[in-house]
């Protein structure tokens, strides 16, 4: 694999850019592997990469029903932050954020990772108190987060409307300066390239139709649209289709899938310096390096796999955006789409072992899985390789819904993950 560097760019430019290698191989599936990961999104590909790199397990296949990075990896609004309230969540998301910080260099792939800051607005006295509590809790956990008064928030994001004469005036904000955005496709491509270089097979257009078990109950492989493939360890990392896959293994899971919509505007000159999220008015916004405003809405209330949502949700979000940023009232929106997010009852992910020997689950990331991509992959790889969870993901077990040890981020931030 050619390493990307200034000399290699110049050399290929003089060659008419015709000599670039395929960035990852497209092999035929083998009869069996040591590990099968179901789902070639960012999480699954990252897990395959870390299995090969950190645990020296390279006889791995990543099976994908559609195409690489074509699900929620391609549909999210690319926000990265780690300012979660509870200790377990702060550790988990900050583990990911620390991996993000060196990832472009590690993968030799430009992820366009930009720590432009994530500012979360408070619109009520209650929210002011809540976010101040977040700031204190985060600092105790070594996560950067600071409280800004209204004028400081306006200084950090000049387009922000801080007029007291709006329906929900801004009363302050919590700012995580290490938060930001990254190129969502690039993350999947970078991990795919890194994994493929180390010998991992990435097999697209290969839908898993069943999970095979030995007589003792442990997994033996999968039935796919491209034949039977054996493996003694199988990890499900399939976001919205994790319920169906777990059902194939005879297990019910505490997941429900809802539509989450996003949209982008026409591209304009750089006007918006950070990421802004507001839970009260249900909107979040940033500007991509291409110049488009990237705007996210809240989830729908009913189970759906349609990957499209109603217009009234989008109208609600845009009304909030226009009130917070009056300069955007005449922006034209270019594209609107829906993704299908798998949500747990406590809005925290499930990452660990299952009651079936050799079957692992990484799901339930809901509306906030993108930011966790490197961390989720890293921890899933650890869990698979050691057949035991890492101390960071141990609290995020499937069994917590029976023991009652929930990590209730639902109460802390039910929207705008």
């Amino acid at each position: 694999m050619t390493r990307f560097s200034f000399p290699s760019l110049v050399r290929h430019a003089f060659g008419g850019d015709k000599g670039w290698d395929q960035q990852w191989a497209k092999p035929e599936p083998k009869a069996s592997y040591d590990v099968i990961i179901i789902g070639a999104g960012g999480h699954g590909l990252a897990a395959a990469y870390y299995l090969a790199k950190e645990h020296n397990i390279t006889n791995v296949a990543v099976l994908e029903k559609g195409w690489l990075g074509g699900g929620n990896t391609a549909r999210n609004t690319t926000v990265i932050r780690s300012n979660y309230l509870y200790d377990e969540s702060a550790n988990l998301y900050n583990h990911a954020l620390c991996l993000w910080e060196g990832l472009s260099q590690e993968l030799n792939y430009n992820l366009m990772f930009s720590q432009r800051g994530v500012m979360m607005l408070a619109h009520s006295e209650h929210e002011v108190q809540l976010y101040k509590r977040h700031v204190h809790a985060n600092r105790l956990n070594g996560v950067d987060n600071e409280w800004l008064n209204v004028e400081q928030a306006k200084d950090f994001c000049p387009p922000l409307n801080i007029s007291p004469d709006v329906r929900y005036p801004v009363m302050g904000a919590a700012l995580q300066r290490r938060g930001g955005t990254a190129r969502h496709d690039g993350v999947a491509w970078g991990y795919a390239r890194g994994a493929s270089t180390r010998g991992v097979h990435i097999i697209e257009n290969c839908e898993v139709l069943g999970i095979n078990r030995h007589a003792d109950g442990s997994v033996s492989g999968v039935e796919t649209s491209r034949g039977t493939i054996g493996a003694s360890k199988i990890a499900i990392s399939a976001a919205a289709h994790s319920s169906q896959l777990m059902n194939m293994a005879g297990l019910d899971v505490p997941l429900e899938c809802f539509t989450l919509q996003a949209l982008v505007s026409e591209p304009v000159a750089p006007v918006f310096p950070c990421v802004i999220a507001s839970n009260t008015v249900h909107a979040y916004i940033s500007q991509s390096d291409k110049g488009e405003l990237v705007i996210g809405a809240g989830t729908e209330q009913y189970v759906s796999y349609a990957q499209r949502g109603p217009l009234h949700t989008v109208e609600h979000t845009l009304a909030a955006i226009c009130e917070m940023f009056p300069m955007f009232t005449r922006m034209k929106m270019l594209r609107n789409w829906g993704g299908c997010v798998d949500v747990t009852p406590d809005r925290s992910p499930i990452l660990g072992k299952t009651p079936i020997q050799g079957l692992y689950l990484n799901a339930g990331w809901g509306t906030g899985g993108f930011k966790a991509t490197p961390g989720a992959g890293h921890l899933l790889a650890h869990t698979i390789a050691k057949d035991a969870p890492h101390e960071i993901n141990a609290p995020f077990s499937l069994s917590r819904f029976q023991t009652g040890r929930l990590i209730d981020e639902a109460a802390a931030a039910a929207v705008a993950h």
Partner: protein
């Protein structure tokens, strides 16, 4: 915007008059152990296909009813009053 047929009002009304209240026909267990509580409180069918669910006509009659809806197309197949057993689905 979904159009939803309220079986009490006997009218098709816009989605914004309703809230969805999750999976229908969940039975609260008696003298339950941890596993049964988990099933009742947290485990959900999350069906890809025909899903039975509760809806609440909050800005209308203020009553709960049940619906069968295809979660792939979001099309409502039928709605029926709360307390009735799971009905047979009409042929397409």
């Amino acid at each position: 915007m979904l159009l939803i047929d309220c079986p009490y009002c006997e009218q098709e009304r816009a989605e914004i008059e309703f809230t969805c209240s999750g999976e229908a026909h969940m039975q609260k267990p008696q003298n339950a152990d941890d596993a049964q509580w988990e099933k009742f409180l947290f485990l959900r069918a999350n069906t890809k296909g025909v899903h039975y669910e509760r809806w609440y006509h909050v800005h209308g009659c203020g009553r709960y009813f049940n619906a069968a809806r295809d979660t792939i197309s979001d099309k409502f197949l039928l709605t029926y009053k709360a307390g009735l057993p799971k009905p047979e689905l009409p042929n397409e």
